[in-house]
């Protein structure tokens, strides 16, 4: 039984995990860097352990330091949140070797899903449709693969994730230069220069399915649409994916459950698909073996606390929810508020927040670690809060979103709230069901 939970993360997700863990009666221990000692999560956690200095490489990304801190704190279990070490197999193994529970999937799933090629093979084996493409270990391989795949295409790091190192190539002339860059970036970012060549679907939607498994049974908690992205970084997420015909929608969730079941998946995971915006044909992309940034939209429409489910399954319990008891009500939208000067090419804007007035009210949820006086250190990513709204239908959710964005008042650092207000006012967004080209077509004045 988990009595003492170590949280190996920071920011809003650390606070999010702490809240649920406390409600379940666990003692929460937060591992923080020196830069986060006085952060809101550190003040709310029952105990705090300093894992290292500000830079993540010496704190949140240091496997030995985080594991040593969790052991010293006599933790029974470690929740890795998202990003940082959440999908790091060496970390998961070190946690297990130290006699603690890793709140995540078993190591075989984590390892398989961390490698795009293994994930793709597993998808094919489970009978899921995949986008035409293949691996390339050398430049020649990449050229050959590109000739088969056709243009436009995407180059991705095999070991990568989160959009880092992804390149779009529209014509054969541009291929060689982009291969060099993609391989160099893959090597620098992940220590593995293998790239993956994949057909780029011109009008595609990014649709993902939240799954839960206990090793024997797998269920889904519906879809999310994350098509509004900038440089492959998600800006807006919704649940459910809007405007997809019911039969196609069901085929997508069925495929995700089939995939999770084939892995004997344990815990919370997300199966990602690329959906053709015109035909609604779908292709399996990959699976994220962790809690996602956008999980609250699923919570908003299902009423299920995903962190609670993660902790229960990690604790060795069977899933307490059968598929037929999962109900979906209304529509939810999340916007990521980042500390960035969006009008100046999204330049990072760290600093001290003087005023942090977040929206509140019916159908509004804000997940943030930033209150008045809160610090946004330069070491970490720029997410300072997530605005989540829910309405009885999408139109009501959009109206609530617009009202909420109108009252956000953050002073001291620049934020993307103004950009989100433009997105929320865009006719294409209001109509719903946009593809991944939405951001390029946005009037940013």
């Amino acid at each position: 039984m988990i009595r003492r939970l170590f949280i190996a993360n920071r920011g809003e997700i650390a606070l999010r995990v702490i809240r649920t863990a406390k409600r379940l009666g666990m003692v929460t221990i937060l591992g923080v860097s020196e830069a986060d000692r006085t952060s809101l999560p550190a003040l709310v956690a029952d105990e705090v352990a300093v894992v290292g200095p500000g830079p993540s490489a010496e704190s949140y990304l240091s496997v030995p330091r985080v594991v040593a801190a969790a052991r010293a704190a006599r933790a029974d279990a470690v929740h890795p949140g998202y990003g940082f070490l959440s999908e790091n197999v060496a970390f998961g193994r070190a946690v297990l070797a130290a006699g603690m529970i890793f709140v995540g999937p078993d190591m075989a799933s984590l390892e398989a899903m961390g490698d795009k090629l293994m994930a793709r093979r597993a998808g094919v084996a489970a009978g899921l449709p995949v986008v035409p493409g293949g691996e390339a270990a050398t430049k020649d391989d990449a050229r050959q693969q590109a000739a088969v795949t056709g243009y436009p295409l995407l180059l991705k790091a095999v070991a990568g994730g989160g959009g880092r190192g992804m390149k779009r190539v529209d014509a054969p002339e541009a291929l060689d230069a982009q291969i060099d860059m993609a391989m160099a970036e893959a090597q620098a970012a992940f220590g593995d220069n293998r790239i993956y060549v994949e057909r780029f679907i011109a009008s595609g939607r990014h649709v993902e399915v939240q799954v839960l498994g206990d090793g024997e049974t797998a269920i889904h908690l519906g879809t999310r649409d994350c098509s509004i992205q900038r440089r492959f970084q998600k800006l807006v997420e919704e649940a459910p994916a809007f405007g997809i015909p019911e039969d196609k929608h069901r085929a997508i969730t069925d495929a995700a459950v089939r995939f999770a079941a084939s892995l004997h998946y344990r815990g919370a995971g997300t199966v990602e698909f690329l959906v053709d915006a015109a035909t609604f044909d779908f292709y399996f992309l990959e699976m994220n073996a962790r809690i996602q940034v956008e999980h609250p939209v699923t919570e908003a429409v299902t009423g299920i606390d995903l962190v609670e489910q993660q902790l229960l399954v990690a604790d060795g319990q069977r899933l307490g929810i059968a598929q037929e008891f999962v109900t979906f009500a209304g529509h939810a939208i999340e916007m990521r508020i980042n500390a960035e000067e969006w009008a100046k090419d999204f330049r990072p804007s760290p600093g001290r927040v003087r005023v942090a007035r977040w929206p509140a009210g019916a159908g509004v949820r804000v997940d943030t670690h930033i209150g008045a006086g809160g610090a946004v250190p330069p070491y970490y990513d720029s997410l300072i809060g997530k605005l989540i709204v829910r309405g009885a239908d999408r139109a009501e959710a959009v109206a609530r979103l617009q009202a909420a964005l109108a009252v956000i008042d953050i002073e001291g650092v620049a934020t993307t709230a103004g950009l989100h207000a433009r997105i929320a006012a865009d006719a294409r967004f209001i109509a719903g069901g946009v593809d991944t080209r939405f951001f390029e077509g946005l009037d940013r004045g």
Partner: protein, 148 residues
């Protein structure tokens, strides 16, 4: 340690209560946190503040730099200063190197994003003021340049 912290559910409940009253704002204070819920336009805003000993330390402002002789290259934003494109690689510039306005002299890493810093002036690098792999403030002097 965390008694009487306000959760999202608490805030929702407070808004529901406040909405049925003619009041404009409600302020709740515990020994550690202050929550302010205010009617704003058609909706409400919430603001959480840490108070007392728990409050974050005051912001330390960097001392104002004395006037510099010659030209200086300043950091365009706060972040970690790197003299080379990657660990082990030769630095972009050394003392004595000649630079043009578009010569990249450093990288500043802020929030996982790498920003290259051009010299912004022509001349010879006279001094490297910032230490490699350390945090610099926005506008901090990175290098001094003798005009060409």
């Amino acid at each position: 340690m965390s008694e009487l912290f306000f959760t999202a559910e608490d805030v929702a409940e407070i808004v529901t209560i406040l909405d049925k009253t003619p009041y404009e704002r409600l302020e709740l204070t515990t020994s550690r946190f202050r929550l302010r819920v205010v009617r704003t336009g058609d909706g409400f805003t919430q603001e959480l503040e840490v108070i007392g000993d728990a409050a974050p330390a005051a912001v330390v402002t960097a001392p104002v730099e004395a006037a510099e002789d010659g030209l200086v290259i300043r950091s365009p934003l706060p972040g970690t200063f790197y003299r080379a494109p990657q660990p082990g690689a030769p630095p972009f510039v050394q003392v004595g190197d000649t630079v043009a306005p578009d010569t990249v002299i450093a990288i500043i890493e802020t929030m996982k994003l790498m920003t290259s810093v051009p010299a912004g002036c022509a001349g010879v690098i006279a001094e490297i003021r910032a230490e490699n792999a350390t945090l610099v403030e926005a506008e901090a002097v990175l290098m001094r340049v003798t005009p060409a």
